[in-house]
Symmetry: D2
Subunit: 278 residues, 4 copies
C-alpha cells in the first residue's frame, strides 16, 4: 500500500491526460493504474491514478492546479485506516459484519465507536473492545436527541459516518455537517420502496427479486448518490419476514462493499450520482 | 408430455392433499410431481400435480368438486401448443426471440400472428412464415385503433396475447376482454420506474442495476401480477442508451421465461400476485 | 416453530402421498407445507412435510412404516438448536460470520466449541464466550493430531461438524465417524479447481467468474454431495490475492446458507447428490 | 461511431501513458475514453484509447513506434462491420440469436455465410437471406471434411470464425490458419466439465449452478483464452436435459456478449488469458 492516489475531476477539455501524466513522468514516477471517465453529457472528466511511492507533495499539487481548469477538484491521498463512527439501532447483521472486517483489516478503517438509540448491540460492540454510546430517545425532541448523538460523534472526529441500519432520519442540518461523509444502507432496491417497511411493500407488490442499496445521505430521504446495489431472488413462499431475513445478507454485503469502495478512494460524487472506479 | 396437469386453488382446510391424492390413487394413477403452497396470511391453498397418462375426465373433476371447498378453482389440463398472438411496435429483440423459440419448439405455443402499429418488423415476421398485420394509428382515435387491432386478434382466437414491447396502452375495456390472458414485458425492475422511459429514469437516478419485469396486464398501468423479473449490473459509464441496449437482453430473457412458465401451467394468479411453481 | 417436520425418502410407488397424508389427516393435523420430488431416473421418492403442532410420536412413525416400502428412511423431527462444533485454521471470515449468526439466533444451532490447529482465532472466539481448543500439529503425526482433535469434538457430542476453512484433510476413518455430518466450504466452484490453491488456479486459467461450494465431506476429497454454490464476477485486474479476497464473501455466504438448509432439515443426501427443499 | 480506436500492449515502463497521450494531444485530438491496465506479474502494459474523429494515419503509427518499446503491438482501427462466418451443427439457439442481432445492427459484424455439417439449420439461415453451405461428413476423413469447410470459409475472407455450437473439433493446422480469430461457445463453466456432454457431467456431479464459456480456440481443446462466462442456478429437479435447456439461454447470451466485446475491439489476448476493457 506504499502508493499515492491522485483523484481529479474537472470540466473536460483536450490534453488533460497528457498534462497530468506529463507531471507524473517529470517526477520519474511509475503509474500503477489509471482510470478515466468522461461524462460526455455533462462534459466532465474524472481520473483516478495510483502512483508508485510516496513522494508527491504540495508543490506537485500546485503544478497540477496550473495545468488544470480552474474548477478542478484535486485530491492527493493514500489508502490508510480512516476513523469511522457507526450508528445503529437494534439489528446486528451489518454492524457485526463491519466489526469483524475492522478487526481483521479487511477494510481500511478504524471504527472508533458505535452509537445507538438502544442497548441491544452493546455487548456485541464491547466484545470487540469498541466504545458503545447509548443515546436513548426517551422524552428528547428529535433535535435534542440528534444533538446528543452529534456530541458523541464529534469526540471521535470521524471521516465517515456509517448508518448500519440506523432507523432514524437525520435532520437536514445534521446532514450538512457531514457533506458526502454519511453512508447509509437502505433495505430495498432503490428507487423502489422508498421510505418505511420496504420488505412489507415488496411482499405486497409480489416482486420476484429484492435488493439493498448503499448511498450517501443527502437532505432528501433515500435520494442520495447510490454507491452500490445488489439483489437476490425471492418467490411466493416468502413472507415479508422471510424477505427481511433473506435481505439481511444482501444489506450486509452491499454496505461492506460500498464502504470499501469509498475507503479505497474509488468513488466520485457528481450531481447526485457516483462515478465508481472498481 | 403424455401427462395431465391438475391445478387447484381454494381456501385452505385440513385434509386437502389427502382428499385429492386419494382420488388420484383410486384411479391407480402415478403422480409425477406435486407442488403445494399455502398462503397462510390469506389462508389459501395452491396445488399443481402432474399425473401420468391421460385418463382423467369430467367425472374425476366432479369427484374433486365433491371433496373440495365450494370456492375451489379446478383446472385439469395438458401442456400443448396454445394459440398466441403477439403485439409489437418497432423493436425486434423480444419478438425475434419468441419467433425463434416458436420455430424450434422451445415454447409450447403456436404464434398465429403478429400485429403492429408500424411496419418495421414485417419482413422479420414474414420470414418465419407468420402473418403480420399492420394497423397504423394515423388519424384513428385510440378506441378505433384498438378496435381494429382487436378485430385481427379475434380472427385467431388466441389463448394468450403477448405484448413484446408494444408501446401502446390498452384501454380497461380491452384488458377486460382478455382477463389474465395478456402478458407484458416492462423495461424496468418494477415497481421502480413505472411508466415511460424507464432507462432514462434509471440513468437519471444513477442506479447500479437495471432490470425487466414480465407481468399480467390489468387495468392499472404496470401494476399487474408479476410473473418474472431479472436484472443486470450497470455503472457510471452507461448512458441511457447503453442501459437500453443492455436491458434488451434482460427483457428478452424475462419475457421468454414468463411465457414459458404460463404455457407450462405453472402460474396461479391470486389477489394481484402470482404463485409460480417452477 | 411449534411444528414437526416429517422427512421421508424411499423407492417410488403409487399412492405414497395419499398414504402419508391419510395418516396425517387421521390425526386431524394441519399440513403447513409439503414438498415432494421423485427422482425418476433412480425411481426414488422424497418428501418433506411440515405439520402443525407437536403431537406425532413413535406410534405414528410405526404406522408410517406399515404403509411405506421396507427401504423407507423416515425422520420425524423439529427445528431446534443443534449442537455444532466448528473447525478452523487461521481465516476469520466464515467463522466470525457463523459466530454472529449463532449469537443472534439466525441459525438454529448452538456452537459448542471451536477447534483450530492455530491460535489466530482464539480471541475472536472467546469474545463470543465460546471455548477455543488449540490443537497444534507440531511433531504429531496426522493420525495423532486427528485423534486429539476428535477427543475435543467428542466432549461436545455435536450433531454437525462445520469446517470453516479448516485447511487440513480428514482421514477416511475420521469421516466415517461422522457420516453425513461434516459440512465443508471449498473455495472454488466445484468441480473446477479441486484441491489446493483454487484461487491461484482460477487466476492462472483467466476465468471471469469465481465461486464457492459447500458440501458434505466424504472419503473422496472435494467430491462429497454439494449443498450450495454461488459465484461472483472477476476480471483481468484481479490478482490471485484479489480473487481470494473477493471470494471470502462468497465463501461466507455459501457456508452460512448451506448450514441453514441442513439445520432447517431441508437437505436429503442420495447417491452422492443432494435434494434440497428450499 | 466516427471514432478511432488505438490499442497498444507492450512491456511496461515509465512514461507510456504520457508519451502516447502527448502524441494524441500534438494532433489536437480529443480522447473520448481511455482504459489502461498493467499486469504487474508479467510487467505488461495494455491501453485502449478512443479518439474523436478519423484523422490518425500511418505517420501517427510510426510516431508511436518511435516512442514505444520495440515489442509493442499497436493497432489503430475503427469499429465497423467485420466479415464473419459462422459454423454450426444442429442447434439453432446461438445461431438464430446472432442472425437476429446481425439483422438489427446490434453487433458490428456482417455474417457472410453459415457452414454446417447438417441441413437442420438451412431454412432458418436462408430466411435471413444468408448463404448456407452444407458440408456433410459422410465418408470424408476429418482432414478432407475440414479442407472442404475451409474452402467455403476462404470464399468469404472473414475476420472472425464463430463456432455457434459447432460440434466438431478443428485440427491444430486449421486453428493455426486463424490465430486468435476463432470464437467458440462451450456449454459449461470452464474449466469444469471440459470435453463432451458437460450437462450430463454437471447432472452427475449434482452441481447447483451451471454455466457457459466463450473463448478463443487454440490448439488445446477448451483451453483457449476465456472472453466471457455466465451462470444460472439449477437444482435437484433438473435432469441433464433440463440443464441443457436452461443452459441454452446462457450459451446464447455469453456468445453474443463475447462476440460484441471482440468486435468492439475491447479484447487483448496475452499468454492464454484475455484483458477485456468493458
Amino acid at each position: 500500500m506504499n502508493n499515492q492516489i491522485l483523484l481529479i475531476d474537472c470540466p473536460d477539455r483536450k490534453g488533460l491526460v497528457y498534462n497530468i501524466t506529463k507531471l507524473v513522468y517529470s517526477r520519474d514516477l511509475n503509474i500503477i493504474s489509471n482510470q478515466e471517465f468522461v461524462d460526455t453529457a455533462a462534459n466532465h472528466f474524472f481520473m483516478r491514478t495510483v502512483i508508485d511511492g510516496n513522494s508527491l507533495d504540495a508543490e506537485f499539487k500546485q503544478q497540477l492546479v496550473d495545468v488544470l481548469p480552474d474548477e478542478a477538484n484535486i485530491r492527493l491521498t493514500v489508502i490508510k485506516k480512516r476513523p469511522v463512527v457507526i450508528l445503529a439501532t437494534k439489528e446486528p447483521h451489518c454492524l457485526g459484519d463491519l466489526l469483524l472486517r475492522n478487526t481483521y483489516g479487511e477494510l481500511p478503517c478504524d471504527i472508533k465507536a458505535v452509537i445507538s438509540n438502544h442497548t441491544h448491540l452493546q455487548s456485541l460492540v464491547e466484545s470487540f473492545g469498541i466504545p458503545y454510546h447509548h443515546v436513548p430517545v426517551g422524552v428528547l425532541s428529535r433535535e435534542d436527541h440528534e444533538r446528543k448523538v452529534d456530541q458523541f460523534i464529534r469526540k471521535y472526529t470521524p471521516e465517515y459516518l456509517v448508518l448500519a441500519k440506523y432507523m432514524r432520519i437525520f435532520s437536514p442540518k445534521m446532514v450538512r455537517n457531514y457533506p458526502n461523509r454519511i453512508i447509509n444502507i437502505h433495505h430495498s432496491f432503490l428507487p423502489a420502496f422508498i421510505g418505511a417497511s420496504p420488505y412489507q411493500q415488496a411482499y405486497n407488490r409480489g416482486v420476484k427479486i429484492i435488493g439493498a442499496t448503499s448511498h450517501f445521505v443527502t437532505e432528501k430521504l433515500d435520494q442520495g448518490p447510490i454507491i452500490s446495489q445488489d439483489v437476490i431472488p425471492v418467490n411466493h413462499t416468502y413472507t415479508a419476514e422471510d424477505m427481511a431475513s433473506a435481505g439481511r445478507d444482501v444489506e450486509t454485503n452491499v454496505l461492506a462493499k460500498a464502504l470499501k469502495l469509498v475507503l479505497e478512494e474509488r468513488v466520485f460524487i457528481f450531481e447526485d450520482k457516483t462515478v465508481v472506479f472498481e
